[in-house]
């Protein structure tokens, strides 16, 4: 995407985002889910794509946000909307704090070792939540009812997630244009060299993961309310669904790019919605086939593939605009 086309594309996507819930009102729940998935892919890519640290544990932050939000709504005694906002912010805060704590320990591990260390995070959290009475143990928690006629809830969540996704996109576009973005790329390309040049790689890695965790906490915080129930393994720490999907979507679209995760999430969600109903009982198999297909045919993702296919169009730019 070249410099002058970028704002146009953003405007077009924004227009679609605003209009969509009214163009196809029957699909508001799916639209809300679409934007939530976009955010998950975007945030996964901060460490996974830009920094080269593949995390399989980001679902932890999502689940923590979900639980924290519903617990705040249950115990603080605010009205629905103030309670939800406070819950989301508290959830995001706890998720970010966890990222700082865990990150400063396991982000010292390089490459595959880090990836393997993160594998256990979501599973462990699911086990803990499933055995903790304060969090409803195995039966989970029920968020308060949405205080408006049915149907409006999905409209609300569709716009909420669209708003967050748009904000995250703009924030990341700005972030990747700073020298911090370059520092993350430098760590991805050659961490030893980055250290030899005097960069504080440890601090940057933890910061990047914390940013992802904060946003994922927000996303999870609203998701409990949208889905209507919080289950330790099926919705909150859902490693086999959301946890895998966020990795998959970023890789499918093209990791390490600004638009890749967005594109990947859109394609993944539409494919999933179109096919899943016809593949009853075979969804997991289909997902497996998709993963294999992506790894074999699009190891660089769709945008990465396009960039190799038509290199001339992408000359002289990193993620869009002219940056040094």
């Amino acid at each position: 995407m070249s410099g002058h086309r970028q704002p146009l594309l953003m405007l077009a996507v924004a227009a679609v985002g605003v209009a969509l819930p009214f163009v196809i009102p029957d699909y508001r729940a799916q639209i809300a889910m679409l934007w939530a998935l976009v955010i998950m892919a975007q945030t996964w890519d901060i460490t996974g794509g830009q920094t080269g640290y593949n995390s399989f544990g980001n679902i932890l932050f999502f689940g923590v946000g979900m639980y924290a939000s519903v617990v705040v709504q249950r115990d603080v005694g605010l009205d629905f909307f103030p309670g939800l906002v406070l819950g989301m912010v508290v959830g995001a805060g706890i998720a970010a704090a966890l990222a700082v704590l865990l990150g400063s320990m396991i982000l010292r591990m390089r490459g595959h070792y880090f990836a393997i260390a993160t594998l256990g995070l979501g599973i462990a959290a699911g086990e803990i939540a499933g055995g903790w009475d304060y969090l409803g143990a195995g039966s989970g928690l029920s968020p308060p009812l949405f205080p408006a006629p049915p149907g409006t809830a999905n409209l609300f969540f569709a716009y909420l997630y669209f708003g967050v996704a748009a904000l995250v996109f703009v924030a990341l576009a700005a972030l990747y244009r700073t020298r911090f973005g370059l520092a993350l790329n430098a760590i991805r390309d050659n961490e030893d060299k980055a250290e030899a040049m005097g960069l504080h790689t440890g601090v940057y890695k933890v910061t990047a993961w914390t940013m992802a965790a904060f946003v994922l906490g927000l996303v999870g915080g609203a998701m409990g309310n949208m889905l209507g129930f919080v289950d330790p393994r099926d919705t909150a720490f859902a490693g086999a669904t959301f946890g895998v999907w966020m990795v998959l979507m970023a890789i499918l679209g093209g990791k390490g790019t600004l638009w890749g995760p967005v594109l990947g999430a859109v394609i993944f969600h539409i494919t999933q919605e179109l096919l899943w109903t016809h593949l009853l009982g075979w969804q997991r198999v289909a997902l497996g086939v998709i993963i294999v297909g992506i790894v074999v045919f699009f190891p660089q993702g769709i945008l990465g593939w396009a960039r190799t296919r038509w290199p001339a169009r992408h000359e002289h730019q990193g993620h869009g605009s002219e940056r040094a």
Binding site: T178, A183, E195, A196
Partner: protein
């Protein structure tokens, strides 16, 4: 002339192998000093110890009067002591200009200093240094697309971007074609002269090191074998034996 880098009794062991044994030498400020020796004589190990990549098992290392024996790589780099690698280390999926921009130590490495776009000053200095290294025309190419020799030059440009006090260069001309070698020598001499950077150079190519260095240290089997000006070392029986394998 005062010593900028002082190594005293440096010893480094890997298991049962002693890679460096009781090495003491000095690198005076503003000079070009060479470090030679046959393969496996411990030159790169000594460099790694100096820049804190692995700590020494014994002895001490001081840089500009400051004890750096126990400091970590990044901390040492921030003091202005920068190394380049034998195999080139550049950021391959970033453009030449981006490689330079992230190497700008003056723009700062603090988290908040990083949270802004590349400044015009950084960009200008990056472009000037890329031009100095003959890479201006390739500044928008991904570093991974450059030839080996060009990557070595980019690595030199990145090191100069830090405004280093001293550069530790590990075989700056290895694997480069003979025509480009002269270009590298000339640029190293200019960097030393114009930017006042002290150079401490590992080199296998005798022609290169003899014309570049004012003073040379020779290692063999992990020990300091001989030191002196190039002419003296060229005729030193022990050095010749070490290289030819007589012992």
């Amino acid at each position: 002339m005062s010593a900028q880098l002082t190594i005293e009794g440096a010893t480094k062991r890997f298991g049962g192998i002693t890679a460096n044994e009781d090495i003491s030498l000095e690198v005076p400020e503003g000079r070009i000093v060479g470090l030679i020796g046959p393969n496996g004589s411990g030159k790169s190990t000594l460099f790694n110890s100096v820049v804190g990549y692995h700590p020494v098992d014994g002895g001490s290392i001081r840089f500009e009067g400051r004890e750096i024996t126990r400091l970590r790589t990044a901390e040492i780099a921030r003091l202005g002591l920068i190394r380049t690698f034998q195999q080139t280390h550049v950021f391959v999926q970033m453009t030449g200009l981006q490689n330079m921009a992230i190497s700008d130590a003056e723009a700062g490495h603090g988290l908040f200093q990083l949270m802004r776009p590349v400044s015009a000053e950084t960009r200008e200095r990056a472009e000037a240094l890329l031009a100095f290294c003959g890479l201006y025309g390739k500044r928008h190419l991904m570093a991974g697309e450059l030839s080996f020799g060009q990557r070595k030059l980019l690595e030199l440009a990145m090191a100069l971007m830090v405004r280093p006090r001293m550069l530790l260069l590990d075989e700056p001309t290895a694997g480069i074609n003979p025509t480009l070698i002269n270009g590298v020598i000339e640029r190293l001499q200019r960097a030393n002269r114009e930017f006042g950077v002290t150079l401490f150079v590992i080199e296998h190519n005798m022609r290169v090191i003899m014309s570049l260095a004012e003073h040379i240290h020779c290692l063999a089997h992990g020990r300091l074998l001989a030191s002196g000006p190039p002419e003296a070392l060229r005729n030193d029986r022990r050095v010749i034996d070490a290289y030819l394998g007589a012992r």
